[in-house]
Symmetry: C2
Subunit: 80 residues, 2 copies
């Protein structure tokens, strides 16, 4: 089963990487970019075939490794 | 208008970051993780309101800054 995990900085947490991209876009002449936030997308190929079990396993992975839950939020998307 | 840009390494390009995550998950006792690839997710808030114009602008941003098209592929998702 394929799954995607999206990890973004929580709202209110300063995102210097996103700010750098916004600034660079402005320097390149792209106007009208009001905000940029950059996060991680992790695509996993799991042996688990049961969606509920896969989601529980992914949640566990996020809590333990993939996201720093103090400053980051994560979202799990299972692909059939 | 909000938009998301997903930038991933192309298939066939070695992804050391993804491999490191896969290895770390194995060390933590997560079995059955057959493959991991890690990419970037960039969320942008654009002043542009026309979807076609916004997509053209985003494509231009990807070609010029957001993605290294030699080794990375990108996908644009507009959010209504």
């Amino acid at each position: 089963m394929k799954a995607r995990v999206v990890v973004m900085l929580k709202d209110g947490v300063l995102d210097p990487q996103g700010e750098a991209v916004r600034h660079a876009l402005g320097s390149l002449g792209f106007d009208g970019v009001n905000g940029v936030r950059q996060g991680k997308l992790i695509e996993l190929e799991l042996a688990e075939t049961d969606p509920a079990a896969a989601e529980a396993q992914l949640r566990d992975m996020c809590e333990k490794l993939l996201a720093n839950t103090v400053i980051e939020s994560y979202r799990i998307e299972l692909q059939p």
